[in-house]
Amino acid sequence: MAQSEQEILAGVAELVNEETGLPVESVEMDKSFTDDLDIDSLSMTSIVVQAEDKFSVTIPDEDTKNLKTVRDVVNYIQQAQG
């Protein structure tokens, strides 16, 4: 079941909020997880694992390191769902 970009963004923002306490609205498409949102690797791993459950996709470890921005994650999930 494919979700819209906005739906996935909202879902990712929710995960980021739960993991780090960052406000949902701060999670924007072009933000970098490390440079803009200051999310460490441990939190990033948790977010990816929870995203797999939330969006019913699989994100292999070798792909995780390429997910630099929120857009990267949203696009990856969208393609995986598609």
Binding site: N17, E19, T20, L42, S46, V49
Partner: protein, 669 residues
Amino acid sequence: MSSSPSRTRVLVTGIGAVTPIGDTAQQTWEAALAGTPGASTLTAPWVEEFQLPVTFAAQTRTPSADVLPKHEAKRLDPSGQYAVVAARQAWADAGAPEVDPLRLAAVVATGIGGVHTLLDAYDTLRTRGPRRVLPMTVPMLMPNGAAGAVSLALGAAAGAHAPVSACASGGEAVAYGLNMIRTGRADVAVVGGTEAAIHPMPLASFAAMQALSTRNDSPETASRPYDTTRDGFVMGDGAGIMVLESEEFARARGARVYGEVLGAGTSSDAYHIAAPEPEGAGASRAVQEALRTSGVSASDVVHINAHATSTPAGDLAEIKALRVALGADLDHVAVSATKSMTGHMLGAAGAVESIFAVLALHHRLAPPTINVDSIDPGADIDLVLKTPASCPRASRSTTPSASAGTTSRWSSAPPAERHPPRAAGQDARGPLHRVVEGPSCVSWALPPERRAGSAGAVQPTRFSQRTKLPSPAYRNGSSSSSQARPTARSMPSRSRARSSPALSTAARSRSSGTTALPCASVTAWKIPSSGVWLQRPPSTPSLGSSVTSKRRCAHPRRAEVRRAPVPGAPCQGTSPRRRPGDTGWSVQSMVTDAPTTLAAAHSTCGQTARGTECTNSTPRVIPPDISTSSVPRRLVRLPQRPARDERWCGRRDRTEQRACSSVMMHHAA
């Protein structure tokens, strides 16, 4: 412990607690005075699922996960959550000290660690595979996870330590923090213990040891230390945290002081991993060590908060240990067993009971022991029952806990009042009244220069000369734990009649095979004065002080000022540590009934040739004085004559069996 310990005075300036009977230290204290039972029937589905033999425990009233921000709670085991919540309470209670992170330490003990996280993660591993095991699992489950969390929460960079010694852990944490300050590693130490082990696996294990009470039909009466029908301890959750700081640092910042830690003793039985040495040898050594390092004698002790877990063998071994350590002086010590209310909080027990000990001295009230219908004949002690006992004099009290063996000792009596005739308590009125009404106790606890004007109300003292900042370098004493042990006194004959059942049951009780946790700790504390503030001059009567400092406001501070419910202190967030000894202190009695802050607090900074200088009017939160606000007056009013049930508040010891640590405290009045 050094044979010639540094005389650096270490003061208690903040307390915080999350316990089965209160969400804060104050709530816990009030509930303890009221004799509130903390245990209840467990409603978790796993009780039914596993058909546990024990279906109750003393759980915290409010889950810490409901108190902390969700993202923070998610990264902490419940034991870490309790520790962080209690630490923030203590930090706020201390007035959110401005301290160089490199001079701030965190020592948070636990008995078991993150057992919830560990077992949940193992379930995840088995059912969903390794990729679903979250990366924070190990940092959450490790025994030092809570210490690390507190270190992060407060910005403590001088060290984050986690003593692990079963039931003595909490007392050892106090001792560790005491030593860190005395050896120059830190100016301020946030110390205490935490535990979150109410989980089916530890419950099953303790039940298998036959260490737990099985009064499933009456949880609130299951924890009954020294009662003839006691059948084991009740597991408890929660945390207790205190802020300790050196006298110099406390003086420089004008801290309010609950008491002083005098010394500590630790030992181990080397007897059995769980059962106590029947004669309490290890625990008694911890108490004696606490006495020795505190520089006080057994006759100074007026109250003991016993470890008293409610196990058949453990409680009696503790009594024997106390008898060996204190001899006939034990007869004149009021003993409280607060586990009758909180249950056994394992690694947090020593810390929470240290808080009880400090507050008992502070408020001159010994908490009651509930659920004792008939005292075990072997417990030849003056147990405080049902209602709190007034503490007539400032004095020392000891809190031995019996597992890993820590003993705390507290003191609050003026030297002249340390050795009053006590045979029948008939002399209690004199010193007792002086404590309440007069300054004699105040002068006793304070440095000589502040004893002037001892008549009438305590006068604030101005210290115009600055003292030099003590060197932070190690001030080591040589280690010689074997020296100068006090000579054990012979067992005294019973000097007063007891209403307990026939002595013929004593032998049977003592031969009980029920195991107890290997814990014993005693810590000695010294409380400078009840309700006394150490203020920087020039002082403003009663609240806060107006100070012109030359502190440079440029050093970023990591401690979470914003989280503390304290009005913004001057230079918050950008202040360097205060320099201990910059200014003197003064003393005045605290008279307040409710938390109060100075509304007109302000801070102005400007550039000068010497850098940024600030003029501050320091806001200060004054926690309500529990003894005068929440507690009914009748509980604190001194008796016309010490009655049978209104005994002297003297020593408080809690003792467990194995590892023992002891902390001595002093209450300067």
